[in-house]
Symmetry: C2
């Protein structure tokens, strides 16, 4: 069922549109905004002057930008970095990275911590997390009133609201209320998101031409995860965020997975699975708990040098990924894939098996699906987390102004 539309909704949406354009372009004149947004100059003027008055945007005399000829010079608008700040937290096995960013997305403070969550109790985790975030915040020298949002990227699943961390390979703890913890400690809205979802979000942000309606980001690391966009919207569980692509069944009674099941895609394409097969360990042997990027790189190297076991292990990974994709492609026509993470560095050796698997499937046309590689996932996770935080601040500010005007 559609929902009512009032005139302030109109303003809010056009305002968000302008913010999106400014964020993407960095610095842009009012008239250029009007053109890209298909809004009239008058409207852009009104809205952007409001934004400047609020302190959201700043106008900077065109400055260096070659006073490009005749006419009144355009004034470039840009995000006011000082307007608000956000905390980005990236939680992954063994590590906790905290960044403080300004409203323009620049990192103003950053610290990396080690954390072993394998045997941690919830209360200890809570204290550690808060202490390390606070410590990082303090190095920024900012007033806490400046903090408008905390975004957390996690390996694992969250509830849809992005409040609790349901399950994660980092820890045996389940249903961890990270959201409420941080909200209570810092008084700012908090949202958790799955790392793969954030990678997909980042790709969509970076290059909306390529990554718009339908595409997936597949993280090839210790585990295998997927961030999926369909019809321009991110698809995550109805109850939890993050698709469990890695735990789709590839081969009944196949190799043993970290999750305890057998035959998952991950049990064939995750780091530990590739290593296990390369070593010739039995398929039901316990997954290694940690595999370094170097080890995977070494296997790829061996494969390129012609090592049969390496080639076999990587081909198996390719087949598992291909069969999972074929399943999805039966539901939705083939779409672009980005393989992300250090597994992507070995992808060229998985690719033939993957494409062959697609060709043998019912989604034959998927054989030629475009695939991009991003061996380092961290910049994408950070970028996704960043845009998640900032666009949320934008939206909240727009809603606040609206409510204020109404009251």
């Amino acid at each position: 069922m559609t929902t009512v539309l009032r005139s302030d909704d109109m303003r809010r949406r056009n305002r968000n549109l302008i913010m999106e354009i400014v964020r993407r372009k960095g610095a842009i004149s009012r008239s250029a905004i009007a053109q890209t947004a298909a809004l009239s100059p008058a409207t852009v003027s009104t809205i952007s002057n409001d934004l400047i008055a609020e302190g959201v945007l700043v106008a900077q005399g065109n400055g260096s930008a070659a006073s490009s000829g005749r006419g009144r010079p355009s004034v470039h608008l840009s995000i006011n970095p000082e307007f608000r700040h956000a905390v980005l937290i990236i939680l992954k096995i063994g590590a906790l990275n905290v960044s403080i960013i300004d409203y323009a997305g620049a990192v103003v403070a950053h610290q990396d911590f080690h954390i072993d969550m394998a045997n941690i109790r919830a209360e200890e985790f809570r204290r550690t997390l808060i202490a390390e975030v606070r410590q990082t915040w303090d190095t920024s020298g900012l007033d806490e009133a400046q903090l408008a949002r905390i975004s957390v990227a996690i390996q694992g699943t969250t509830d849809t609201a992005g409040v609790h961390m349901l399950r994660s390979p980092m820890t045996p703890l389940t249903d961890v209320p990270i959201g409420p913890w941080l909200e209570e400690a810092f008084g700012a809205p908090v949202r958790l998101a799955n790392d793969c979802d954030l990678i997909a979000r980042a790709l969509n942000w970076r290059d909306p031409e390529r990554y718009s309606d339908n595409f997936a980001a597949i993280l090839l690391a210790h585990g295998v995860g997927m961030g999926l966009f369909l019809r321009g919207q991110i698809i995550n569980g109805t109850k939890s965020s993050g698709t469990e692509f890695g735990h789709m069944l590839h081969r009944p009674d196949g190799a043993l997975c970290r999750c305890g099941s057998r035959g998952c895609i991950e049990a064939n394409a995750g780091d530990y699975a590739i290593l296990r097969r390369y070593r010739g360990d039995p398929a039901d042997s316990a997954p290694a708990s940690r595999v370094s990027a170097r080890e995977i790189a070494a296997i790829a190297e061996a494969g390129r040098a012609g090592n049969e076991r390496a080639l076999d292990a990587l081909a198996a990974a390719g087949r598992a990924l291909g069969s999972g994709l074929a399943g999805i492609y039966a539901l939705v026509d083939p779409f672009r894939i980005a393989f992300v993470g250090h597994g992507a560095a070995a992808f060229s050796l998985m690719e033939p098996a993957l494409r062959q698997t697609l060709e043998n499937s019912n989604a034959r046309a998927a054989r030629d699906v475009p695939i991009d590689l991003f061996p380092d996932e961290m910049p994408l996770v950070r970028e996704g987390c960043c845009i998640d935080a900032l666009s949320d601040i934008d939206a909240r500010q727009a809603a606040k102004v609206n409510d204020f005007a109404r009251a």
Copy 2:
């Protein structure tokens, strides 16, 4: 990227909202509309009087509806059946059903034709189709200017635009331009849609409480198809409509499918697959070309009486369906399923195997997913086709009025 919003968009959307409410409620007063839509009585008054002036709605003195007490009696608004008419065409193996409906969705003419498309040439198909539609139209005695829309339900896939029929089990013809044929012959907009998608649409229309954000309709007939809603939107291929759920791989090198591959879900759960296994025919024997509903019912009957082969065949179907669902549930958390078609009448005997398969999968929680049964798919296909046609007429009319006002 979001898009601009102007004040006429607002009006169009609120108008559509009102139409949706009137369509769903059948006859409803202005004040009741205002309440359900969360619009002010003033706005509803303005818009609905416009609609009445255009002839879209009619006002009927509350009539029978017990003059419910004090106060000025409410006037019920309802769709004006005479405003426009639509042609609904349902194409399935061996049959071509044509209905003419009025603007309120009532069938004013209907004819069923037999058609064998196994060895038909495109030109002959075109002529037959047009002739039979025209013949049915003529029995209605309506003026052709009354025809505002043609909606076609097909077994098979279409392009996303809903213009060409790409592939269908009905015929070896591919890429059949049914849309352009009919548009040229009747001068009304035409859209083709996959039958499973329409079934899902119908469920969403009938019972939006139950079938809203995430659910799937699975058609169990000769083939196995799926209409899938995620986040309230129908998901079909990026290039073709209709998910190919039936051709997801269930078991590598498994039973022979109609499509030529092996191990598809359909090759285990389609009519012919159940019959084949029941008879004890080898799994690679050629699929029967047609199986009647009675045959499936007989197998179910035998199963209920304890026949082992029948139970085995139906359990195999349940396992195949369960494994396909488990795959989807790994991507999206478990959602409600409606099994539709005569296979649904035998579902109780597939259910234990299906739920067991889910329980053994990684989507363990999916074991308790709610499942509804609709043994007769035709009313749903018709209803989906009907609402598809009518809501399109509504939207076009709203856009036309808007454009007119702007010019």
